[in-house]
């Protein structure tokens, strides 16, 4: 393959998972208490996709990575101070509401429009990456809708691995039931890949990468257009956090096999 990929990663921001997430009602619908004030992170599923994209771009010369992110501009900027140091990419920022109470098709519309507006984007080399899931609500439909709007029919969800062959075709491992993977072969881009966790560790922060990224990130944030999300036909009947179940014990120096046996016993007991 002579030219690399144009990889567009779609990723939103979510509240830091250690924060207390408490649904509240507002005149414009449900929200999380103090959500704007809470520290945010790049959605962990999208972050996996971003790291996979960077790793692929590193392997494939002439590849380029964009991150298309929708969220309140000021919060996106904070998140970029961490994410921007991880891997090289160019940001396409959309100043729009973010969170678990948005309509996934409306979000997909914004993302697809932003992707279409990227100058010089080569559809024949386009891979659209994103999270198969989301840490905010996990509708599981946003990325599929983005693919449809971009008229990309080759879509893979729950991806754990992508292996590119010399002829430009690629093999995709998608999660299926029972801890197994479905292996698919795709002859060429474009394609949409909704990543599960992938296999890569989170890269350490690298301020040198960050400084290089920031030269484009800051202008991108400054020129991000404020967009409204359509909520037509959307209503929430009930919002609640998953019921919490914790049985915590703090133990030290316990052998691994003892821990494993305890878990098995617990599972058997639970059944």
């Amino acid at each position: 393959m002579s030219k690399g990929y144009h990889i567009v990663v779609c990723g939103g921001i979510v509240p830091d998972p250690l924060q207390r997430l408490e649904p509240v009602s507002t005149p414009s619908g449900p929200a999380l208490r103090n959500e704007m004030m809470l520290p945010a992170v790049l959605d962990p599923w999208a972050a996996s996709a971003l790291y996979e994209a960077a790793a692929l771009a590193k392997k494939m010369p002439e590849s380029k990575v964009w991150l298309v992110a929708a969220g309140p501009k000021a919060k996106l900027q904070q998140v970029m101070m961490v994410t921007g140091q991880k891997v090289p990419f160019e940001l396409v920022a959309i100043d729009a509401p973010a969170g678990g109470f948005t309509e996934s098709f409306a979000v997909a519309g914004l993302l697809a429009a932003a992707i279409k507006s990227i100058p010089g984007l080569d559809y024949s080399r386009l891979l659209v990456f994103g999270g198969w899931e989301s840490a905010s609500r996990g509708a599981g439909s946003t990325l599929q809708a983005v693919g449809e709007l971009l008229e990309i029919s080759a879509q893979f969800q729950g991806v754990d691995e992508l292996a590119v062959a010399e002829d430009g075709s690629f093999t995709v491992l998608e999660r299926v039931e029972g801890g197994r993977h479905q292996v698919s072969k795709c002859s060429a881009a474009p394609a949409v890949l909704g990543w599960a966790t992938g296999n890569l560790a989170e890269p350490p922060n690298n301020p040198q990468v960050g400084m290089a990224n920031m030269r484009a990130i800051m202008p991108a944030l400054q020129k991000a257009k404020a967009e409204k999300l359509s909520a037509e036909g959307l209503s929430f009947q009930h919002v609640a956090l998953p019921a919490e179940q914790r049985e915590t014990r703090i133990v030290k120096d316990t052998p691994v096999d003892v821990i494993a046996n305890e878990i098995v016993d617990w599972l058997r007991g639970a059944n």
Binding site: R33, M37, A74, G84, Q85, G210
Partner: protein, 755 residues
């Protein structure tokens, strides 16, 4: 939507009180500490945080602090520092760094982030910078390029071993540290071939030297032991130099175990080009360009500030775990079901726990404001100092004495500039004059130098000394849990660590000694008087911050200084003199309390004014500002209380208490005399009893030590002291409001680092 205000009823009035919604996050800190526009610094903060709350916290949680030795696990910290860019913060871009220009604020923030979890890790990260600082501040261009670039993290594919440095000033007993002018390290000429570069024999025994277990170079302070070398200098030693590079025994520290400390023995031959800053040869004598004292002065004025901030980070890091502990204290016990005050608030039902936590928070917050103010001041000062060095180098005035003499000429101009800048409205002539003065680098230097010379030791002293004591309060607030290894937030370890921070890089007495001299500088005092007026003006607009009380506190301090400088004690001895540390050191302490509160007030105002520009804060800004205003007020009251107490002790404490049998005692009168006068001057009998000692009919003398002291010549002080007490009006109401906010603030589910 939930309201972010609560309505408080007081009599017939109803007032909406904004509520503190969350603990302050990055958006708030970036505004308060003035790096909202610096994404390079924001990234450095995030990098340091990721290392602190990842590898560092895991090491602590796994018990790595339980060994004195420098282990393989601990040494991986440096890899983490390199990988995340922490090592590179100190370096200029041409040497592998990523931050252009001065880096004091960036380094201070990185140290703050690391110390949020572990002070030893912060020290470890700072130690190589400390070793590099003499080279950075006073090294030759060649030395700078070689050692700075060599300290940069490896790039992919490089097999270079980066430089890791240690700074060796402190001497073995009996010269432990404090008397930095006495060095036992020696330097002699070992070989000197005609026309060639001299080779020097350097002997140095260090004590409590950080990073020594793995340092591959040492910057050491040594004195000449050879008539062919003049004075003292600092010299760079490498582990590969011929001779002895014995890293010595590990120091058995009870604290900061994530930094390596030991007592090295070094006896090495090095070329003379290792003398930091270079040298000249005159009449066969090597004359180092900088004496060791010149070098360390330049170094310590910068490096002590981050140490002060490390202790402040500990205090602020304790807030969240303490709140969580207090709220959850009774959960699971009988009699407290979800929704009940006992279950939801736990110990926070008790006012005392809230007030004490506010004391911890207030000192931590004021210390952080103080330290970051000083860091920003150093960032402003760096280029001005470089320009001063350039000017003096051109004039051939490189010795400290020659520079001091020359700079004295600029001090009156600096004072004039301060006065002009303080004017809100300037005439065209004044504006022209101001610009003329600003254009003179040595005037600006004199102005800032006077402040830096106070702020460096003041931050180190106050933040660590008061901070260490206040950390004990944080431990106390965690109950028995506080002194266990399992305490969330490692609060117990931080308490002990704070004591070392109060000691290294110059213990408290060194900082007080320096302050006792620098705070008398007329340029600084002129600036302080301007700040006093500034606080009055702030007080007019924002009474709730306590700024007006602080202004009175500053006025009282100045009045006390003025008195002490001319007054004598009961034996006729001078009160303000070098050896009278009971006076000078105490007055230095009082000043630190006041200056730290001033920084906090300025940061609260910055938050209020700039916070509105950040949409992320829109929802909670009112609550944040209200809380911080109250916290500031409470902290100002504490500061003024301390300063007032110290000043009163100094004013009254050196007067001998009058005795009944003093020859000149006429401080009492007889009751019948006073009552007789009542007929002529109604009320005088009661008035005299209120003012002085009156001997009643049935007694010879009142049952007390002697007549009350009747002050003379300190009326101004007495009035100010009384005024200051009155200025405390409302400070406890502010504390009550802040305490109420602590019961409502939302905290995360759990700490973001392991325990």
């Amino acid at each position: 939507m939930e309201s972010n205000v609560v309505v408080k009823e007081s009599g017939t009035q109803r007032a909406a009180v904004p509520v503190l919604q969350t603990l302050p996050g990055d958006d708030v800190r970036q505004i308060m500490w003035r790096y909202a526009d610096r994404y390079d610094i924001q990234m450095a903060v995030q990098s340091a945080r990721s290392v602190a709350r990842g590898p560092v916290a895991r090491l602590v949680a796994e018990g790595a602090r339980n060994t004195h030795e420098w282990t393989e696990e601990k040494s991986r910290l440096y890899d983490a520092f390199d990988d995340s860019g922490i090592t590179a913060i100190f370096l200029d871009p041409e040497h592998g760094g990523f931050i252009e220009g001065p880096k004091n604020l960036a380094l201070a923030l990185a140290a703050f982030e690391l110390a949020w979890v572990d002070g030893g890790a912060a020290t470890c990260s700072l130690a190589t910078n400390l070793a590099l600082s003499p080279i950075h501040e006073r090294g030759t261009q060649e030395q700078r390029t070689h050692y700075m670039a060599g300290s940069a993290p490896r790039k992919p594919g490089e097999d270079r071993i980066p430089y890791r440095g240690a700074f060796a000033l402190t001497e073995p007993l009996p010269y432990v540290g404090v008397e930095t002018s006495m060095l036992s390290g020696k330097i002699r000429v070992a070989e000197w071939k005609e026309g060639g570069e001299p080779v020097l024999q350097v002997e140095k025994r260090g004590r409590f030297i950080t990073n020594i277990a793995f340092a591959n170079f040492v910057t050491a302070a040594v004195a000449s032991d050879d008539p062919r070398i003049k004075g003292s200098c600092m010299v760079i030693l490498e582990e590969s130099d011929p001779g002895l590079f014995d890293r010595g025994a590990h120091t058995k520290k009870l604290v900061h175990q994530l930094s390596s400390t030991g007592d090295p023995v070094l006896n090495l031959k090095v070329p003379a080009s290792r003398i930091i800053g270079g040298y000249t040869i005159k009449d066969g004598v090597i004359i180092p360009r900088f004496a060791h004292g010149d070098v360390i002065e330049a170094v310590f004025r910068r490096t002590r500030v981050p140490v002060g901030l490390m202790t402040s980070a500990k205090l602020l890091s304790a807030v969240e775990p303490v709140i969580r502990y207090q709220r959850q204290r009774f959960r699971g016990a009988e009699g407290g079901s979800p929704g009940s005050p006992r279950y939801e608030l736990g110990l926070q039902q008790k006012e005392d726990t809230l007030h004490r936590l506010l004391d911890v928070w207030g000192v931590g917050e004021a210390g952080a404001s103080f330290g970051f103010f000083a860091s920003r001041m150093l960032d402003e000062f760096d280029p001005i100092e470089r320009e001063k060095d350039r000017i003096f180098a051109e004039q051939g005035k490189e010795s400290a004495r020659a520079q001091m003499k020359e700079l004295a000429r600029f001090e009156p101009l600096a004072i004039e500039l301060i006065a002009l800048e303080a004017k809100k409205v300037r005439t065209a002539e004044e504006e022209k004059r101001r610009e003329e003065l600003l254009a003179q680098p040595l005037v600006r230097f004199a102005q800032l130098d006077a402040q830096v010379n106070v702020y460096g030791p003041a931050v180190k002293l106050w933040n660590t000394a008061v901070g260490a004591t206040m950390m004990r309060e944080a431990v106390n607030l965690m109950g028995g849990y506080g002194i266990t290894e399992d305490c969330p937030g490692f609060v117990g370890q931080k308490w002990m660590d704070a004591q070392l921070e109060a000691t290294y890089e110059g213990p408290e007495s060194v900082q007080r000694r320096q302050l006792s001299v620098t705070m008398l500088n007329e340029v600084f005092l002129a600036q302080l008087r301007v700040w006093l007026k500034e606080m009055r003006e702030i007080g007019r607009e924002r009474a709730g911050t306590g700024a007006c009380a602080l202004a009175t506190g500053l006025e009282l301090w100045l009045k006390t200084l003025e008195y002490l400088q001319s007054a004598k004690d009961a034996s006729g001895g001078r009160l303000y003199s070098n050896n009278r540390q009971g006076v000078t050191f105490a007055l230095a302490d009082a000043l630190c309390w006041l200056l730290s509160s001033r920084s906090l007030i300025l940061d609260v105002i910055e938050l209020e004014e700039r916070g509105v520009e950040n949409p992320v804060l829109a929802e909670g800004l009112d609550g944040l500002v209200a809380f911080y205003t109250d916290l500031s007020h409470a902290q100002v009251a504490r500061s003024c209380g301390e300063a007032g107490r110290i000043c009163a002790e100094l004013i009254y404490g050196y007067q001998r208490h009058p005795a009944w049998d003093d020859a000149d005692n006429n401080g009492s009168c007889r009751a019948q005399d006073a009552d007789a006068l009542d007929a002529i001057i109604p009320g005088i009998g009661a008035g005299v009893r209120g003012y002085g000692d009156v001997l009643e009919m049935d007694e010879l003398r009142p049952n007390k030590a002697g007549p009350c002291f009747v002050p003379h010549g300190i009326d101004g002080f007495i009035r100010l002291r009384a005024k200051l007490d009155g200025c405390l009006c409302g400070c406890r109401l502010a504390k009550d409001r802040a305490a109420a906010a602590l019961t409502k603030v939302m905290i995360p589910e759990t700490l973001d680092y392991p325990i």
